[in-house]
Amino acid sequence: MIAQAFAARRAEGRAALVPYVTAGYPDRGSTVEVLEALADAGADVIELGVPFSDPLADGPTIQTSSFVSLGNGTTVAGVLEDLTAFRARRDTPVVLFTYLNPVIRYGPTAFLEDAVKAGAQGLLLTDLPTGADPVLEAEVIASPLDLVRLVAPTTPLSRVPAVAAGGSGFLYYISRTGVTGARTELRGELSKEVRAIRKAQDLPVAVGFGISSPEQAAFVASLADGVVVGSALVRILGESGVQAGADFVASLREAMDA
């Protein structure tokens, strides 16, 4: 379903829009409403963050949203319930975005089953790089969920095919070294790097980390198959509420499709 969503956009000569939100943020009860608003504002795939106490790949915005969400009483089971409720209303594919420990604690087999039942299409585990745990990776790959893999600017091009081979759905290119967070400028090498990664393997490539404005989204859409926007959206949701978040996503969509 994720691959189809990318393919559908590609057929139109456009890029897929992939917003990220932290479940249970800003309020415990807001997740379903937020997901619906994103779907209606033009999201092609949604990354739904399952909060973790030690989000070491995340910058201050997503850290704060994670701590607030956990403080609101968010649990893994609760996120899956919210996803179930969303799935009854919209078809937009959802990638669960989290860290390994909550999944291990839940039990990987049970987690994969329950995530599929809840209507997830993909899983992204920030701290499970390709090759780190072949047994666990094989279990995720064998499940109906797409395993979304990350490629970093520090990933040697020679490693990219192996990373892609262990993933499906799309490949997530981290546009710069560092943690998640909105940035005012993207790196100059980005265009060349994305081209090289697209050439080295067959999955669609979405670019994320630091994209914070419609102009940046439009620029990235011109070189990649998808655009991931996280921290900028999470900040707007926290500061100005669901409608403002939806308006922001709609503005990204508009800029990308122009």
């Binding site: 030690d54 989000p55 420990n101 291990i104 701290d127 790089p129 090759g131 780190a132 990933t155 560092g178």
Partner: protein
């Protein structure tokens, strides 16, 4: 050289490299550089020279006779890591990793610190090697260990207080990893304990193993035999692995790790990951971890900042499950009592961390029918103000 397989990045099932993709290349480079350094006679002799002339090794193995008399045991030996330059065993590792960073051409060093001992040892190595140094330290620890903060600054390091999460060692480590992910191209992360992704746990162990190599030979020299038991405190577990490692093949030598029992295990306010935790992934490796039923890391507690950590080195998890080592705990109160007793009986003020190992011997020493070797991992000067405050004597300082 062939690439290491997953099996040799682990201790049994524990360890691994559970980190963001951005760090994989840096870990590969580090693994390779470390392997090359290990077989390079020049690296080894330079490190040996620094350990001798700069750190002051070998450290003595001291026969603590008054302590022995009081508890009824005639052969208690203290491995005096407190007599190292900078006052703790941490310098063994920072000199090794500092030299390695220089070889790798990294100009910038980052580190995390709890009690401040590793931060001071890192700042010291960076001064010696002329490297830029940034140390992350939880805000709560900055308050508890103000003297060490100033010491690091004096040595030219920048101390960055970390206000997120628990405001202690765990979150300082998160922040150091975030820095490394961001600046990986010119920065080396000197992890202070036998934690983190491979190769850190085995590399830090190797740099700390000098403690056990010396202690084993020293006891053979003075007592003509091996110890009955080796006792060390365990937070992340670097001094414990350092003194245990050489004794692991000696079947008759019991290895005892002493965790921080805080206010007691039943209180939930402790740092006893091995005694009360379950396997989980934090800071790049699979190991015993304090966590709740949803896989969120539980806050740790200890009177000693250096033990106040919800995880533990993966090799300790392996030694526990394979039963080669035994892990126990003492409470804050027992550690504070040992802090006083060792000061009064032997004229040695131990670090609060090391006082946990001493406390175990105070309680259980007579049960061991043979020499006891205790790793006195650090000196207690850094803790004097903190303990005085706890005892209502803060106005003196």
């Amino acid at each position: 050289m062939t690439a290491p397989t997953v099996a040799d990045r682990r201790f049994g099932v524990f360890g691994g490299r559970y980190v963001p993709e951005t760090l994989i290349q840096a870990l590969d480079e580090l693994t390779e550089a470390y392997a090359a350094a290990g077989t390079d006679p020049e690296f080894r002799s330079e490190l040996a020279g620094l350990l001798a002339d700069f750190a002051g090794r070998p450290t003595p193995l001291y026969h603590a006779q008054r302590l022995g008399e009081v508890i009824g045991h005639d052969s208690i030996y203290l491995k005096r890591e407190d007599l190292n330059h900078t006052g703790a065993h941490k310098i063994n590792n920072t000199l090794g990793q500092g030299l390695l960073a220089k070889r790798m051409g990294k100009r910038r060093i980052i580190a995390e610190t709890g009690a401040g001992q590793h931060g001071v040892a890192t700042a010291t190595a960076c001064a010696l090697f002329d490297l830029e140094c940034v140390v992350y330290m939880g805000e709560e620890d900055v308050e508890r260990q103000a003297l060490n903060v100033y010491r690091m600054e004096l040595l030219g390091a920048e101390v960055r207080p970390v206000g997120s999460g628990t405001r202690t060692l765990k979150d300082a480590t998160n922040e150091a990893i975030r820095d490394w992910v961001t600046n990986v191209e010119d920065t080396h992360y000197i992890i202070g304990s036998v934690v983190g992704p491979d190769p850190f746990p085995r590399m830090v162990r190797d740099f700390q193993a000098v403690i056990g190599r010396e202690a084993r030979q020293q006891l053979l020299d003075v007592a003509g035999r091996l110890p009955r038991v080796v006792v060390a405190c365990v937070g992340g577990g670097s001094n414990a692995i350092g003194i245990f490692h050489e004794f692991v093949p000696d079947d008759g030598v019991e290895l005892v790790g002493v965790e921080a029992g805080g206010a007691g295990l039943e209180s939930g306010r402790h740092s006893a990951s091995l005694a009360a935790g379950s396997p989980g992934v934090l800071h790049g490796s699979l190991s015993y971890l304090l966590q709740d039923s949803d896989g969120q890391v539980a806050p740790a507690h200890s009177v000693s900042a250096g033990l106040d950590y919800p995880g533990v080195g993966p090799e300790h998890s392996f030694l526990k499950d394979s039963r080669r080592a035994r892990y126990t705990y003492v409470t804050d109160d027992e550690a504070l009592d040992a802090f006083h007793r060792l000061s009064e009986l032997e004229g040695i003020i131990p670090a609060l961390e090391s006082a946990h190992a001493v406390a175990h011997v105070l309680r259980h020493g007579p049960e061991y029918d043979g020499p006891i070797v205790v790793c006195l991992s650090g000196r207690g000067d850094k803790d004097v103000a903190h303990v005085a405050r706890l005892e209502g004597r803060g106005s003196l300082l």
